[in-house]
């Protein structure tokens, strides 16, 4: 699905390459974590996949296309098969939740009736049913990220890129977002996620590609984040960190209270999934695994149903 062959990227002549001879192969339906310190080349990797940048050397293949030979007028069609989620959500502040998601379909010229059916479906899937008329600033961070994910996924892309999607969120909310991404991944969508969040990486146990100053230093399946100290740069003594009281253990760990709105959204997403499941397939065998699997299968079910309806309409 995504293949990098000895890819290098140098932004300015003579500067240190942002990517240096990187070869990575991500197959269809995989979930890959991209980890590494800031400046290690994670974002460059994602930008190359989107063809926002062209590699200085090597070849990038995405969804069967050779990006170095892709003419610029075909870039839009490439991007229609890729969904992107960012740390800062990038929602349009003047548009409601529904309009934000619909926007992604409108600008690629989807007919109105498709938008009318698809947008509520995807909003229900991310658990924002009933909040269609809200504006982004009326939502919590987690909910905003759900809108962003809905927008990225509404056109059913083959690939979903996520650039630190949980970077602005507390751990509990992050977990909800991760469950959502996992569910999307199980529909067959390839997910590549750049992150600094070691807890999430350790919990998910997916493939981990670690970049360091532009090179792949680790590529493991079922992996963990790794030693935080070895991945993130060591900070020497500085006046600020060396302030009086440094080293004294905090009496209490900072407690983060998760956003209640987002928990609600998560419950709604699960409930929506479960509800659709019972409606669609009442006598379905319960799945053998217990951990969140029923919800995931329901999502798949919804998607299959969607495909069937669409195919029927086109026929």
């Amino acid at each position: 699905m995504i293949r990098f062959e000895n890819v290098s990227k140098v932004y300015a002549r003579g500067a240190r390459p942002a990517l240096d001879d990187v070869s990575v192969d991500v197959s269809r339906g995989e979930f890959v974590f991209l980890v590494g310190a800031s400046g290690s080349g994670k974002s460059t990797f994602l930008r190359l996949v989107l063809r926002e940048e062209r590699p200085t050397g090597g070849k990038v293949y995405v969804a069967g296309r050779d990006l170095s030979r892709l003419s610029s007028w075909k870039v839009p069609s490439l991007r229609r098969s890729i969904g992107v989620v960012f740390q800062d959500f990038r929602l349009l502040p003047g548009k409601t939740v529904h309009e934000n998601v619909a926007f992604a379909l409108q600008v690629i010229g989807k007919p109105r009736h498709t938008i009318r059916t698809t947008v509520p479906e995807v909003l229900e899937m991310v658990g924002l049913d009933g909040k269609e008329k809200r504006l982004p600033h009326e939502l919590s961070g987690g909910e905003q990220q759900r809108v962003a994910i809905a927008r990225a996924f509404v056109n059913r892309p083959q690939i979903l890129l996520a650039d630190e999607p949980t970077g602005n969120l507390d751990p509990t909310t992050s977990l909800g977002i991760m469950r959502l991404l996992d569910r999307i991944n199980r529909t067959g969508t390839t997910v590549v996620m750049a992150t600094h969040d070691d807890e999430i990486v350790n919990e998910m146990r997916k493939r981990v590609v670690e970049l360091s100053t532009g090179s792949v230093v680790r590529d493991e399946v079922d992996a963990v984040y790794g030693e935080r100290e070895s991945i993130l740069p060591q900070v020497g003594q500085t006046p600020v960190l060396d302030a009086p009281g440094r080293g004294a253990r905090a009496v209490q760990r900072v407690q983060v209270t998760p956003e209640p709105a987002d928990l609600e959204a998560e419950r709604a997403a699960e409930a929506a999934a479960a509800r659709t499941a019972t409606v669609q397939e009442p006598e379905r065998e319960p799945a053998p695994e217990t951990r969140g699997s029923s919800a995931d299968e329901v999502v798949q079910q919804v998607l299959r149903e969607h495909e069937r309806v669409r195919a029927g309409r086109e026929a």
């Binding site: 870039v75 839009p76 926007f103 600008v107």
Partner: protein, 303 residues
């Protein structure tokens, strides 16, 4: 769907940039008014020429008594000389001259007494004070020079006169006025291009968030840029329509209702001519907008 969406975007953009849009409208309005004025002046000149050149003649004045011209050294033109000249006109100038009319001294005196029955400035002239002449109507008034080359300097001919010369100062003035209008139009058009460019750039920058997302989700270049192009085109078009309206009013009230009433023997431009140049003005406006938006957008909303 697409059309409606694009139009909504365009309307939003126009509303958000209202003051800039208004300035674009006004600048295109003024510049195209100048373009239109230049075109109308040219039309007026053509009309006058068409009208008046049908009436003008070339006068070949024959030597009177006591003329100081070198060709008149022998005194008044003799009948023999008149016959020779008539022969020359009939043979050598047959392609150029449509009709020939010989005005004898008697004819001239008759015309004179009709014009000034009480004598000219207090002196009563006699038939002998008159001058006989050939009045030549040319097939094409522009070919005066040919007649002049053939007849000037022949014995018995005092001077060859082109009546067109009477109009030259007027046409010169009209021509200069239209040149001036065209020059001002050029300057204003340049200002319009720069202003449209700035407006589109401003609009593009203020909607960078939208266009960024459009590009990420795979909207085509045309789809991203079309709203901006339409914005510029609509503003320029409104300016062009205003210019057409302004010229229409000017022609209707200044020329048709006022000039034509006071000086009615001249053919003037009318509102029909304004409608004829309207497509030109609108075309210029659209071209202006398209060129400046393509230049700007390629720089600011590239994929």
């Amino acid at each position: 769907m697409r059309l409606q969406f694009v139009l909504t975007e365009v309307l939003q953009g126009l509303r958000r940039n209202l003051s800039m849009v208004i300035s674009v409208v006004l600048v295109t309005f003024v510049s195209l008014t100048f373009v239109g004025a230049a075109a109308l002046l040219q039309t007026q000149v053509t009309k006058l020429k068409g009208d008046w050149y049908d009436l003008v003649e070339v006068s070949v004045f024959l030597c009177p008594t006591g003329s100081t011209a070198p060709t008149c050294a022998d005194g008044e033109a003799t009948e023999e000389q008149v016959d020779t000249l008539e022969n020359v006109i009939d043979t050598e100038l047959s392609d150029v001259v449509a009709t020939t009319y010989f005005e004898s001294k008697a004819d001239a005196f008759e015309a004179f007494t009709q014009l000034y029955p009480d004598g000219y400035q207090g002196t009563q002239l006699t038939e002998d004070d008159m001058q006989s002449s050939f009045r030549l109507k040319l097939v094409d008034p522009e070919q005066y020079q040919v007649v002049d080359d053939v007849l000037e300097g022949r014995s018995g001919v005092e001077v060859v006169e082109d009546q067109r010369e009477v109009f030259e100062p007027l046409f010169l003035a009209l021509g200069r006025a239209s040149l001036l209008a065209a020059g001002l139009a050029g300057v204003m058009l340049l200002a319009a291009v720069l202003l449209i460019t700035t407006t589109i750039r401003l609009s593009a920058v203020s909607r960078r968030r939208e266009t960024g997302i459009m590009r990420l989700v795979g909207a085509s270049n045309l789809f991203v840029q079309l709203p901006f192009m339409l914005e510029g085109a609509i503003a320029a078009l409104v300016g062009a329509l205003l210019a057409v309206g302004g010229l229409w009013l000017a022609v209707q009230y200044l020329v048709t209702d006022w000039l034509q009433d006071s000086v009615d023997w001249v053919a003037y431009v009318d509102v029909g001519d304004v409608l004829l140049i309207a497509p030109l003005l609108i075309g210029i406006a659209v071209l202006l907008a398209v060129v400046s938006s393509v230049v700007t957008l390629n720089r600011y909303t590239r994929v």
